[in-house]
C-alpha cells in the first residue's frame, strides 16, 4: 500500500488525486490521507504530496467536464469538510467517475449513486458542509469598528469561508468587511468594490477588533430589544428555538 499524504485544502486534495493516479501503482494499492489528521500504518510506503495549483486545476477541470458541474460542486464541498478521511473518499469517487470504461452517461450520474459507500459518504459530507455554510448566511453578525470596517467572528466546524464569500460580497459591495473563523484561523476579507479573498492562518488584531464605532452599541441594543419584543408570549417554545438556533452559534452572536 502506498499512502499519499496531502495538505488539508481543496488544492492539496486535488493534487493528491492527481499524483496518486499519475503514479500508475493501481487504484487498489494507493490511498490518500491528510497530513495533519492521520495515524501511521504498518506495511505502508508514504509519499509526500507537494500542493500544486496547476495539477489541482487540471483535476478540477476534468471532473467538471466528465462528471458535470453538480458532481464538481458536491466534491468541492466535501473537500472542505472536517472529516479526516475525506481525501480517500473523494479519490474513490473521482476514480469511479473517470475510469476509461465508464460511459459519459454513467459518469454524469455517478454522484447520485448513493448505493456506493464512497459516493454516499462524499454526498453526506457535502450536504453537511453546505448546511453549515447556510447556517452562516443566517448567523454571521457584523459589528462596526471605529475604522468603519464590519467585523464578524465565527467558529465553524468545516471550512465554510470559501462558500460564504460570494454571498456576502454580492450583498455588501460597498462595505469593507472581514469574517474571522477562529476554528481554522482563517480570515475572509472584502474591500469596497473589490473581489474577496481568504487569508489562511491569520488572526485579526486583538485590540482593533474590540474598538467599536460610536453608534454600534446603540444598534446592538435596538436589535436585542427587537428580538425580545417580537416574540409572542402565549406561544413560547424554547425547545423549538434551540432546534433552529443551536447554542453553539449564539456565543458569537449579538443577540445570543
Amino acid at each position: 500500500m502506498v499512502i499519499f499524504q496531502c495538505e488539508d485544502s481543496v488544492d492539496g486534495i486535488f493534487t493528491g488525486v492527481y499524483d496518486a493516479w499519475d503514479s500508475r501503482i493501481g487504484h487498489e494499492a494507493v490511498a490518500l490521507r491528510l497530513r495533519e489528521k492521520m495515524d501511521l500504518e504498518l506495511f505502508a510506503e508514504y509519499r509526500e504530496v507537494e500542493t500544486d495549483a496547476q495539477k489541482a486545476a487540471k483535476v478540477a477541470r476534468s471532473v467538471r467536464s466528465k462528471m458535470g458541474q453538480d458532481a464538481y460542486r458536491v466534491i468541492y464541498q466535501a473537500a472542505l469538510s472536517a472529516y479526516p478521511e475525506k481525501a480517500d473518499c473523494i479519490y474513490r469517487v473521482i476514480v469511479h467517475g473517470m475510469s476509461a470504461n465508464v460511459t459519459k452517461y454513467e459518469a454524469q450520474n455517478v454522484i447520485w449513486n448513493l448505493q456506493s459507500r464512497d459516493v454516499c459518504r462524499v454526498f453526506e459530507l457535502s450536504r453537511k458542509v453546505g448546511n453549515e455554510a447556510h447556517r452562516y448566511f443566517q448567523f454571521v453578525r457584523f459589528r462596526e469598528l471605529d475604522s468603519g470596517v464590519l467585523f464578524s467572528e465565527i467558529q465553524a466546524e468545516n471550512q465554510v469561508l470559501p462558500l460564504i464569500g460570494e454571498h456576502f460580497s454580492d450583498r455588501f459591495p460597498n462595505e469593507n468587511f472581514m469574517i474571522y473563523d477562529n476554528g481554522h484561523n482563517d480570515c475572509l476579507i472584502h474591500g469596497k468594490q473589490r473581489p474577496w479573498f481568504i487569508l489562511r492562518d491569520t488572526s485579526p488584531d486583538e485590540v482593533a477588533k474590540d474598538q467599536l464605532a460610536v453608534r454600534e452599541e446603540e444598534m446592538q441594543e435596538l436589535w436585542k430589544g427587537f428580538c425580545r419584543s417580537i416574540s409572542v408570549e402565549a406561544r413560547e417554545n424554547r425547545g423549538l428555538q434551540r432546534q433552529f438556533w443551536p447554542l453553539k452559534f449564539r456565543r458569537w452572536m449579538t443577540e445570543g
Binding site: E106, N109, V110, W112, N113, L114, Q115, C120, E124, H134, F137, Q138, F139, V140, R141, F142, R143, E144, L150, S152, H167, F168, D170, R171, F172, P173, N174, E175, Q193, R215, M219, E221, L222, W223, G225, F226, C227, R228, S229, I230, S231, V232, E233, A234, R235, E236, N237, R238, G239, L240, Q241, Q243, F244, W245, M253, T254, E255
Partner: protein
C-alpha cells in the same frame, strides 16, 4: 389615544414590533436576485432566517408596523381603536435607517412593513409607498421587502408600491365572510379580495412585459401571500383548507399562512381558549398546506364534509395513507415520482434522490435510509424489489398502532409474532388511550 412626540427610537421600535408580532408571514423567500453592485443587498430564493425568537418562530425580516394607530375596531386585534395601548409612529427616514443599519450587520434579510390604518386606507398606503420609495431610491436598498396592500387604498397607489416591493400581502383575516362580518365590522370580504385580485392581474401583465423587454421593472416578483386566523371562529379544518386551496388556484398566491388565535382582547364575541392558542391545529394545517403545494394533494382528498377535522394523532399524510391502503405497497424501484411522493416518510428531496439513484442500480432499504427516507414511517407502505423490510401486515389497525407507539424506531420482527404466555396482557402494544377511542380512529 395620543401619539407621543419625541419618543426615542428604542421605545418606538419596541411598541411597533410588539404590535406587529401577531403577523405570521416572516419569510424572505421566492426570489433570487443578485446585487447590482451599486447599492446594498440581494435576495435568495430559499430565504434566510437570521434569528429565532423565544417562541421558536424565525426572524428573517424587520417586522414592524409603520404605526399602531388604527381607526378600525376589529375584535381580535391588539391595535383596535377601542384598546387603550401606547401608540407610536415611525417616520419614513427612521424605518429606512433601521433597515439599513440592521441589514448591514446581517441581522435581517429585509423589511416587513405593515401598518394600522392612520386616518384612512389611502393616507396609510401613501405613507408606506413613500417609505419604500425612500428606501429603494435614496438609501439604495436591494434586499427583500414585504409590504401590506391596504384594502380600500386606491389602485394606482397599490400598483406603484408593487414595483418597489418583492412580496405583497393582503390579510384575509378570517376564513369566511360571515366571521369577518362578526369580528371585523369595518372590513368586508369583497374589499379584501379586490387588492388581491389586482396584484394577481398586475403580476401576470408584467410577466408578459418581461418576456418582451428584459429590463422591464418587476412587479411583486416574489408573489403575494395572505394569512388567516385559526380558532377565533367556528370554521372546521375542511373549510379552512378549501379556502386555502381556492386561493392557491384562483388567486395564484405563493403562500397562505395560518395563525393560531392568541387571546389579546376580552370580548364576548371571542372564544375562551383555556388551553392556550390552538397550536397543534395550526401545525396540522401547515402540514396539509405543504401537501397541497408540493405533493399534489387536493383538499378534498385529505378531508371531507363527513370528516371535517384533522386527526390529532397522525399527520395528514399518514392519515391519508391509512385510509387508502389499497394503493400500497409501493415498489420503490418502479413507482413514478408522484406515487413515491404519496408514501409517508418520503418527501420531494428523497423522492428525487431515489429516482436519480435507481437509474444506476436497484435500491434496497439501507440505500433508502441514506437517501433520507424516514423508514420508521415509510416501512409499512413500500417494497424494495418486491420485498418488505420485515414481514408486516398491511392492515389499518396494525400500522396505526405501530406508527403511534414506535415513534422513534422501526418495528422489529417480534412485533408481528407474539410469544404466547400464561399471563397474556396488552403490554406489547400498550392500552389504547381513551382520546383515541373517542376520536373514532
Amino acid at each position: 389615544m395620543e401619539i407621543a412626540k419625541n419618543m426615542d427610537l428604542y421605545k418606538k421600535l419596541e411598541i411597533l414590533s410588539d404590535a406587529a408580532k401577531y403577523d405570521v408571514a416572516c419569510t424572505s423567500s421566492g426570489i433570487d436576485r443578485k446585487g447590482s453592485g451599486k447599492g446594498m443587498g440581494n435576495c435568495t430564493a430559499a430565504g434566510i432566517c437570521h434569528s429565532f425568537s423565544a417562541d421558536g418562530r424565525c426572524i428573517a425580516l424587520l417586522k414592524i408596523l409603520f404605526t399602531n394607530e388604527c381607526v378600525f375596531d376589529c375584535k381580535y386585534c391588539v391595535n383596535r381603536s377601542s384598546n387603550d395601548v401606547e401608540r407610536a409612529a415611525f417616520t419614513p427616514d427612521e424605518v429606512c435607517r433601521l433597515t439599513i443599519e440592521f441589514y448591514r450587520r446581517n441581522y435581517i434579510e429585509g423589511l416587513f412593513l405593515s401598518s394600522g390604518i392612520l386616518k384612512s386606507p389611502s393616507y396609510t398606503m401613501e405613507l408606506l409607498y413613500q417609505t419604500l420609495y425612500k428606501l429603494r431610491h435614496e438609501y439604495h436598498f436591494e434586499g427583500y421587502i414585504h409590504v401590506k396592500a391596504i384594502p380600500g387604498a386606491p389602485q394606482e397607489l397599490i400598483e406603484k408600491t408593487g414595483f418597489l416591493a418583492d412580496r405583497m400581502s393582503v390579510n384575509l383575516e378570517l376564513p369566511t365572510a360571515e366571521s369577518l362580518r362578526r369580528l371585523a365590522p369595518h372590513k368586508t370580504r369583497k374589499k379584501i379580495l379586490a387588492p388581491m385580485r389586482q396584484v394577481q392581474l398586475s403580476r401576470k401583465e408584467h410577466k408578459n412585459e418581461l418576456m418582451l423587454f428584459k429590463n422591464a421593472p418587476q412587479f411583486v416578483p416574489a408573489g403575494q401571500s395572505t394569512q388567516m386566523i385559526i380558532g377565533a371562529t367556528p370554521e372546521n379544518d375542511y373549510q379552512i383548507l378549501s379556502v386555502a386551496e381556492s386561493l392557491y388556484q384562483k388567486f395564484e398566491l405563493k403562500r397562505v399562512f395560518y395563525s393560531a388565535f392568541v387571546q389579546v382582547n376580552q370580548d364576548a364575541e371571542l372564544p375562551a381558549l383555556p388551553g392556550g392558542p390552538p397550536l397543534l391545529r395550526e401545525h396540522r394545517l401547515y402540514q396539509a398546506d405543504w401537501l397541497l403545494r408540493f405533493y399534489g394533494f387536493g383538499a378534498g382528498e385529505l378531508l371531507s364534509e363527513k370528516r371535517p377535522n384533522f386527526n390529532v394523532f397522525l399527520d395528514p399524510k399518514c392519515d391519508w395513507a391509512l385510509s387508502h391502503l389499497e394503493q400500497f405497497p409501493v415498489e420503490i424501484n418502479r413507482a413514478d415520482y408522484y406515487t413515491l411522493l404519496r408514501v409517508p416518510g418520503i418527501g420531494p428531496k428523497s423522492a428525487q434522490r431515489i429516482i436519480k439513484a435507481r437509474r444506476i442500480s436497484s435500491l434496497d432499504f439501507a440505500d433508502l435510509k441514506r437517501a433520507g427516507v424516514v423508514l420508521k414511517r415509510a416501512i409499512y407502505f413500500i417494497t424494495c424489489s418486491g420485498r418488505q423490510m420485515y414481514p408486516l401486515k398491511i392492515e389499518e389497525d396494525f400500522i396505526l398502532r405501530n406508527l403511534m407507539y414506535s415513534q422513534s424506531r422501526t418495528p422489529a420482527e417480534t412485533v408481528t409474532y407474539r410469544q404466547l404466555s400464561l399471563f397474556d396482557d396488552d403490554r406489547v402494544f400498550g392500552e389504547v388511550p381513551q382520546q383515541l377511542l373517542q376520536a373514532g380512529v
